[in-house]
C-alpha cells in the first residue's frame, strides 16, 4: 500500500508546504495546530464544524480536489469531536435537560469527520471511523491494507485526526497525562516526570497501489505492559518483512514522548537496532495525542521522499545516508503499541 499523497495540519508549518520545516518550538504544555484559513470549506458549513471536523475536512479536501474520487474514507480518531461533545453535555446539565440545540450533538459523534468529508465530496463509498484510543490510526491503516488487498486498483483517503479541546485537556491533565511543569518542547526527552505535551493535528493520506511511492509494508499492534513481549512482537514483524532484519532498518521514528513511566519501551526498541539506523522523534513537534502516529507516518513519507531527516527531529544520525526502510514504533500510555514499516521499492 503506497502513500500517493498526503496533507498534514499540525503544530508545525506542515500544511501544503514543499518540505517540512520544524521551526516552531513553543514552551507550554499544549501544542496547538496551526490551522489554515480553510478557504475551500463553504462558510455555511464551516460555522458548524468543531475543530476536529474542521481540521480533518480541511486536510482531506485538497486531496479530494486533486484526485480522482477515492473509493472510500477511513478515519482514525481517539476522541472525535470532544469539544462539541462536552458542550452538549454542559447544555444537558446547565439547562437541566431542557430545550437543547442539536448541532453540538451531531458534530460530537466521532464519525462526523468521515461523514462530513464524504458528504462534501459526494462520496458514496466505504466510510468508517476507528476510535480505539491510541491505536485508532493503526487500525485505520490495517483497514486500508485489507481494502487494497480486496480491491488492488482502488485508492482511499486515510486519516488520523485529534483535537485538543478544553475538556479533554482537563481530563488528560487530571489523569496525569500532561506534564505539570512547562519544559521547553525540545527538552521534554530530558525529563523523567509523568505525562507529555498535549498535541493535536490532522494527517490525511491518499493510499493506493503506486510502486514508486513510499510503501506501507506492514502495520501491527499489540496490547501489553511488558516490554519484552512488545519487542518480541516488533522483532517478528521486522524479520518477516525485511530480509536483513533490524540491519535493514535505516530510520527509526520513535514515539518517545518524555513520559518517564514508559521511556523504557523506547530504550528497549533502540537497543534492537544496529549502528546503521538513524533515530528520529517527533512528539516535541506534534505533541502527544491518540492518533499521533499518523504524524509519524507522514514524517516517514517526507524522509523517504526528500532523503533527509529534518534536523529538529533528529535524535541520532546513524551511519546510513540513503534511507530505504523506516520503522515507526509508538506506544500510547504504555499499554497500546503500534509498529509500522514503510519502505521505498
Amino acid at each position: 500500500m503506497n502513500i500517493i499523497q498526503s496533507t498534514c495540519i499540525s503544530a508545525q508549518n506542515t500544511f501544503l508546504t514543499p518540505e517540512p520545516a520544524f521551526g516552531h518550538l513553543p514552551a507550554g504544555s499544549k501544542l496547538e495546530a496551526k490551522e489554515p484559513p480553510y478557504e475551500n470549506i463553504p462558510r455555511s458549513l464551516l460555522r458548524r464544524m468543531g475543530k476536529a471536523v474542521r481540521m480533518g475536512v480541511g486536510a482531506a479536501l485538497p486531496l479530494i480536489e486533486k484526485n480522482i474520487t477515492p473509493n472510500g474514507i477511513i478515519i482514525g480518531t481517539g476522541n472525535g469531536g470532544m469539544e462539541d461533545c462536552i458542550r452538549f453535555l454542559n447544555q444537558i446539565i446547565d439547562y437541566d435537560e431542557g430545550t437543547l440545540t442539536p448541532t453540538n450533538f451531531v458534530q460530537s459523534t466521532a464519525n462526523a469527520i468521515a461523514a462530513q468529508a464524504g458528504l462534501m465530496s459526494g462520496n458514496l463509498g466505504y466510510n468508517i471511523t476507528h476510535v480505539h484510543r491510541g491505536l485508532a490510526f493503526e487500525n485505520a491503516v490495517i483497514d486500508a491494507l485489507m481494502l487494497l488487498k480486496e480491491n488492488p486498483k482502488a485508492n482511499y483517503l486515510l486519516g488520523g485526526i485529534d483535537e485538543i479541546s478544553t475538556y479533554n485537556f482537563n481530563i488528560d491533565q487530571l489523569g496525569g497525562w500532561v506534564k505539570e511543569e512547562f519544559p521547553a518542547t525540545q527538552d521534554i526527552y530530558e525529563t523523567t516526570s509523568n505525562g507529555s505535551l498535549a498535541g493535536e493535528g490532522a494527517v490525511v493520506f491518499v493510499v493506493g497501489n503506486a510502486p514508486d511511492k513510499p510503501d506501507i509494508k506492514a502495520c501491527q499492534t499489540l496490547h501489553s505492559t511488558h516490554s519484552q513481549e512488545v519487542m518480541q512482537s516488533l522483532g517478528a514483524m521486522v524479520e518477516l518483512h525485511l530480509p536483513g532484519g533490524f540491519a535493514d532498518v535505516d530510520v527509526l521514528i520513535s514515539g518517545e514522548n518524555g513520559d518517564g513511566r514508559f521511556k523504557h519501551f523506547y530504550t528497549d526498541c533502540e537497543a534492537l537496532l544496529t549502528n546503521n539506523t538513524a533515530i528520529a522523534r517527533f512528539k516535541h513537534l506534534s505533541g502527544e495525542f491518540p492518533s499521533a502516529s499518523a504524524f509519524g507516518l507522514w514524517l516517514s513519507g517526507e524522509i523517504l521522499k526528500h532523503q533527509t531527516i529534518p534536523v529538529n527531529a533528529l535524535k541520532n544520525p546513524g551511519s546510513t545516508s540513503t534511507f530505504k526502510n523506516v520503522l515507526i514504533y509508538n506506544n500510547f500510555r504504555g499499554q497500546q503499541h503500534g509498529f509500522m514499516l514503510v519502505g521505498l521499492g
Binding site: R43, R47, R48, Y95, T99, T101
Partner: protein
C-alpha cells in the same frame, strides 16, 4: 421596550447562536429572509433560533407552524418578542 435596542441585541444573539462567521450585526439586514439563499440557514438553525428565544427571552415556541410564521426575518422575530413580552 426600545425596538432598536432589541433588534441590535437580537442580531448579536443570532450571530452567536448560529455561529455566522465573519458577520457583524450591521451585516444582518432586518428584512433579509433567514432561510433564503443569502444566509442559507436550514432546519437545524431553526431549532437553534427556537432555543435562542427560550434562553434569551424566555419565550417558548411549541408549535412548529407558529415557528415557521415567526422565524422569517429579524423584523418578524423582533415583533414576536415585543408581542410576547409583558409591557
Amino acid at each position: 421596550m426600545d425596538r432598536e435596542i432589541l433588534v441590535k441585541d437580537l442580531k448579536k444573539h443570532i450571530i452567536t447562536y448560529l455561529n455566522l462567521l465573519d458577520m457583524t450585526p450591521e451585516d444582518l439586514k432586518n428584512d433579509v429572509p433567514l432561510f433564503g439563499d443569502e444566509l442559507g440557514l436550514d432546519s437545524i438553525d431553526s431549532v437553534e433560533l427556537i432555543v435562542l428565544l427560550e434562553r434569551e427571552y424566555g419565550i417558548k415556541i411549541e408549535d412548529p407552524k407558529e415557528g415557521r410564521k415567526v422565524l422569517v426575518d429579524v423584523n418578524t422575530i423582533a415583533d414576536y418578542i415585543i408581542a410576547k413580552t409583558p409591557a
